[in-house]
Subunit: 309 residues, 2 copies
C-alpha cells in the first residue's frame, strides 16, 4: 500500500510519509463509522455489514481522501473538519467499484488482489452494499458534528454533481456502451473527465470548501483537477500494458482483453506518455498559480507519471 | 392510477381528489428535474436519461410524496418548500424498486404493468440508473432554493437513516436471505418495519421537519408511521393472494411462488385481516392524539384496508 505512486528509486519521502498519514487517518475514520453501523444493528455483524466492511476497508489507495486533506491543509482548514468529506468521498468511489465489478458491468473477479465483493459474497449482496455505501456517504456528511450546515450542503452538492449523471455514473455508462468501439480521442477524454476526473476534481473542491478563498480559486482548482485526473487515467492505461498482474492487483492487460478503449490504443504507447507528461506540466503550472505552497500536491502531481500501480 | 386505494363503491372523494393533486404536483416536479438533467447533458437524451425517465415517471402511486405533502399541509408548511423532499423520497423508493427487480435480487420482469428497467433496457443500465436516482435524490434536496440549509441537512439525515443499512436496504437484505424460510412473526415485522415502514415513517417526518412542533410530535409521528407502514404491508400480502395479475401490475401470487414469507402464510388470511384492522385502529387513535386535523391522513389510514392494489 505504501508503495503507491512510487517505482523503485523514484520515491519522494515527503509524499510517502504524508500519504501514509492520510491513509491511516481516513481508514481510522471509516473504521469508526462501520463500527457504529455494527453497534446500531440488532443482530450485530450481519452479512450486509460484513460485506460493507470487506468492500470499504480494503487497502485502497485513498487517493481522493488524500486530495481532500492535502487541499484542506494547504488552506489551513483543520483536518477533523475534513474527515466526514474524506470518508464520504471514499465510500462513493468504493461503491462505484463494487457495482462496476458486477457481472452485468465489467465482470471483474479480482480487485486489489482480492476477490471482488460479488465473488466473496454474492451479486445481491454486492448490489445492496454498493447502495448502502452511497447512502452512508451522504449520511456521514449530514451527521458530522464538526462542520456547519452550510458547508455540509455545499459538500453534498459537490459530491452529487461529481458522482451523478453528468459525472462518474454518466462516465461509466459511456464506458460500457463504447466497449468494442474505438472512439475519438475527444470522446475518450470526455468519458474519463466524467468517470474519474469528476471525483478527483470534487475532492480538491471539498478540501477547499470551508476556505474564505473558495470562490476565488474554485475555477483554477477545477482546471488543476481535470489535468491531474486525465494524467492519472492515461498513466492507468499505460500501467495496464506495462505492469504485471501481481503489481496491479487485477489481471494485467484486462482493459485490452475487454476491448476497452485506452490512450495507448488510440495514440500509441510513446505518444500516450508524451500526452501524460504534457498534462502534468500544465497541472504543475496551474498549481503554482494557485499559490498554495503544498509540497504534497506538488510532489503528487509530479509522481503520477512514476507510480507503478 | 386514480383508482389507488379504492375498490369499487369504497371511494373517498376527498382522498381521491387530494391524492391526485399530490400525484400531479410531484410528477410535475420530477419531470422538471429530469428535463434539467437532459438539458445539462452534452448529447441530450442518452440511454441513461431515457432509462432514468422510464424508471421514474412510471405512473407510480406516489404514496410517500403524498404523505410528505399531507403532513406538511396539516402543519401549515408551504407546499413549494416540500417539493424537493417529495421528489427525493420518490427517487429513493424508485431506485430501490429498480435494483430489487434485478435478476440477482427478486428477478421481476413486470412492474406496474410494464417491463422492469433491466428488461426494457439492460442490467448494466438498470444498476446505473438506480445508482443515479439515489444520487439525484440527495442532489435535489441539497440544491433546493426553497428551504434553509439546516432543514436540508435534517431532510438528508432522515432520508439516509430511513433508506440505509438499518432501514430499507437492511430490510431488503433480510428479505432476500429469508427466502425459502418461514421466520417468526416478529422477524417478519422487523423486516417490514425496515424495508417499507422506514420510508413511510420518514416521509411523515420530512413533511413535518420545518414545523415548530417537530421535536414535540416526532415520536408520535414515528409510532403512527410504523403502524401505517405495517398495515400497508399486511394489506400488500393479502392483495397478492386476492387480486388478479391485471389489477396488481405484477404476477398475482408472485410472492407465494418466490417462496417469500408473508402474513397470510404465517397467520392465515382471516387472522391477517384482523391484524391489519388492529393496526389501523391503533393508527387512527395515534393520529387523533397528534391533533393535526388532517382529513387526508385520516381517510388514508382508514382506506389502506380497502385499497384494491
Amino acid at each position: 500500500m505504501t508503495a503507491f505512486f512510487y517505482g523503485k528509486n523514484k520515491e519522494s519521502p515527503l509524499l510517502k510519509t504524508q500519504l501514509t498519514t492520510y491513509q491511516i487517518r481516513v481508514n481510522s475514520a471509516l473504521n469508526s463509522h462501520i463500527k457504529q453501523q455494527t453497534s446500531l444493528s440488532q443482530d450485530g455483524k450481519n452479512q450486509l455489514i460484513n460485506a460493507l466492511e470487506y468492500a470499504t476497508l480494503n487497502n485502497g489507495k485513498r487517493l481522493r481522501p488524500a486530495l481532500i486533506y492535502a487541499m484542506g491543509e494547504a488552506l489551513s482548514i483543520p483536518l477533523n473538519t475534513l474527515d466526514a468529506a474524506a470518508c464520504a468521498m471514499e465510500l462513493i468511489h468504493s461503491y462505484s467499484l463494487v457495482h462496476d465489478d458486477l457481472p452485468a458491468m465489467d465482470d471483474d473477479a479480482l480487485r486489489r488482489g482480492k476477490p471482488t465483493c460479488h465473488i466473496q459474497f454474492d451479486e445481491a449482496t454486492a448490489i445492496l452494499v454498493g447502495d448502502a455505501q452511497q447512502t452512508l456517504a451522504f449520511q456521514i456528511i449530514s451527521e458530522d458534528p464538526h462542520t456547519t450546515d452550510t458547508n455540509k450542503v455545499r459538500l453534498i452538492q459537490l459530491l452529487t454533481q461529481a458522482s451523478g449523471i453528468h459525472g462518474m455514473i454518466g462516465g461509466q455508462m459511456i464506458d460500457i456502451q463504447s466497449e468494442g468501439e474505438l472512439p475519438e480521442i475527444n470522446q475518450l477524454r470526455t468519458m474519463h473527465l466524467m468517470k474519474t476526473g469528476a471525483l478527483i476534481k470534487s475532492s480538491l473542491l471539498m478540501g477547499a470548501s470551508q476556505s474564505d478563498r473558495y470562490n476565488d480559486i474554485k475555477e483554477r482548482i477545477e482546471h488543476f483537477g481535470n489535468l491531474v485526473g486525465l494524467a492519472f487515467q492515461v498513466q492507468d492505461d499505460i500501467l495496464d500494458i506495462e505492469s504485471s498482474t501481481e503489481t496491479l492487483g487485477k489481471p494485467q492487460g484486462s482493459d485490452e482483453e475487454a476491448n476497452k478503449s485506452t490512450y495507448p490504443k488510440l495514440l500509441g504507447l510513446v505518444e500516450s506518455k508524451t500526452y501524460r507528461d504534457k498534462l502534468i506540466t500544465e497541472a504543475q503550472a496551474t498549481l503554482k498559480q494557485l499559490n498554495l505552497n503544498s509540497a504534497f500536491l506538488e510532489d503528487l502531481t509530479t509522481y503520477i507519471a512514476k507510480r507503478s500501480y
